[in-house]
Amino acid sequence: MKLSLVGVSHHQAPVELRERVAVDLEGAAALAAEFADGCEAAVLSTCNRTELYLAADEDDGLEERAVVRLLELAGDEAAALTPVLYRLGDQAAALHLFRVAAGLDSLVPGEGEILGQVRAAYEVGAAGPLLDRLFRQALHAGRRARVETAIGESPASVPAAAAALAQQVFGELSGRRVLVVGAGKMSELAARNLVSRGASIAAVANRTAAHGEELAQRLGTRSVGLDGLAEELRTADVVVTSTSAPGFVLHAALARESLRARHGRPLLLVDLAVPRDVDPALAAYDGCFVYDIDDLEAVVELALDGRRVEAARAERIVAAEAERFREWQVSLAVVPAIASLRARAEEIRVGELARARLERLSESERTLVEAITAQIVNKLLHLPTVRLKEAAAAADGVIYADVVRHLFGLDEDERRP
């Protein structure tokens, strides 16, 4: 069987082109179904790529059909899409999918979402024996890359870095109280990231009450004015600020009494605003940690460097998995010969047992003879089967298969009506 891949990704195509050919999960299922007649098909469509994976016994213009279909999706941008489309076959296509599943082809190396998207594409696709094995092994490679390396461990964005820092201070975030100061997009993103790790939003404090109320409703909490900040500081564990105020919103004079009342209980202040909202002098207080946007970006930058180092280890895992897939795929060439050989052996065994008049034996004796002869056949054929598969992996499979057919007269069997 031949494996083909036709696709477009963020490496060559800008978002204006990618969005033209992007399809949702239902669209991916429908597109895969279009190609399912006589072949296997799966469509992986994310914000960074749209790829058609196809497998068939004969090429039969399948790749061309896939290209034409993608150009149809692109509509009047078809001319711009043509030069950025890529086509890969067999081992290259398999290696590509394994790299995608491991997050090695992503914009942020090791991002975790892609593994779920590959699984979804597999589940809604029209997979047969080849694509079934390909996608299962791709998911396995993706999981191995994440478990055996630290590629997905470090935060890859400022909100994720803020949440990771909070975990460095508090450990589990469940039950931790987050105070959001300012109704900006960044503070909302950081707050949502903290909530996804178990924290709860205590309040939203904003200068404009209407905006604060709006964000508070979205986050399922209450809103307070900036004059209530000092009181909220006494009980909060994490404060995320992102206002457009020209000066400090949280200055030392305002927070001094609240911080003293905490008796050294940790407080993480995440300042995402420019100009800054939090007076850096607050860091001098016992248990008080102040991080501004530059600090968080430095953490993210270093984390991404770390991910790149881990990516080299993940590449080795993916290459090993791709090699296993290649061995499996080439072994398919000798499967008919192995099946014929086993069928011939079984036919001989059954024939000889029939001639031996086993009815003279008791039931248990007959069962024993059946088991022993089956075991002898299995043991005799085990090593030739293994060697045939090994030879297939080393590209000698077809020669070995022919030799086996000739030696055991399998061709005559196959010709027999």
Binding site: P155, L165, Q168, G171, H263, V290, L302
Partner: protein
Amino acid sequence: MAELLVWPALIAYGEAAFAYAGELRGPGLAGRLATWGVRIGWLAQTALLLAQAFDVDGFPWGTWAGALNLFVWLVVGAYLIWGCRPGYRLLGLAVMPLAATLLVAAWVGGGTGTETGGHPGWLSAAHAGLMLAGLAGFTLAAGMAALYLWQERRLKRRDSRLLRLRVPPLESLDRLASRTAAVSLLLLTAGIVAGLASLQWSDVDAAMLVTLGIWTLYASYFVLRREPGLRGRRAAGLLLVGLALIAVVLPITHFAS
């Protein structure tokens, strides 16, 4: 012959101490090697202590060197409860160099041999065992406090490599150090009570007064923690002061008297 068991223990503890330094560069093989070093070393030292217990006529850990040998075993044993978890491996960087050094001192002082020991009676033996267990717990709590201060400093300095190392969260360190100190205080109290049972007023010496001072310091730690809510950097500092008192004053007063 049993004394030879000190060598595998020493080598394994030394290997662990060096390997933990490697863990500072990032989590990985060094940390795993260190953990195995601690496990193997502790098993070897356990075998040594068992051999001493069977071979020696009397109580083998009555001398300062013998007590040090038992003390190291207790410290490493308590560390093993958490130390195998990846997040707590760096605690070994505070504990294992100390353990290896103290075991060398115990060996030099003859505390790992199988010569005849004293006959202090079961109450005094219980007193010594409980006191040593309590002090070992305080040492481990101080190790956690040191790790707390180090990690707190990194957080304060906004070190961008902060997420590279696996270090327990600050609050976990604070809580765990406090719990360890609480258990240790109970053991120390039981040890003091066992000692008082066989005490006469004429026996009171500087070592006993220092021991009471240590008890008072840790008891104050818990009172301050409960009432004004002492925690964080100051609580960690108090645990380190306690260790300094144990490490410097107690041996001088106890074994010199």
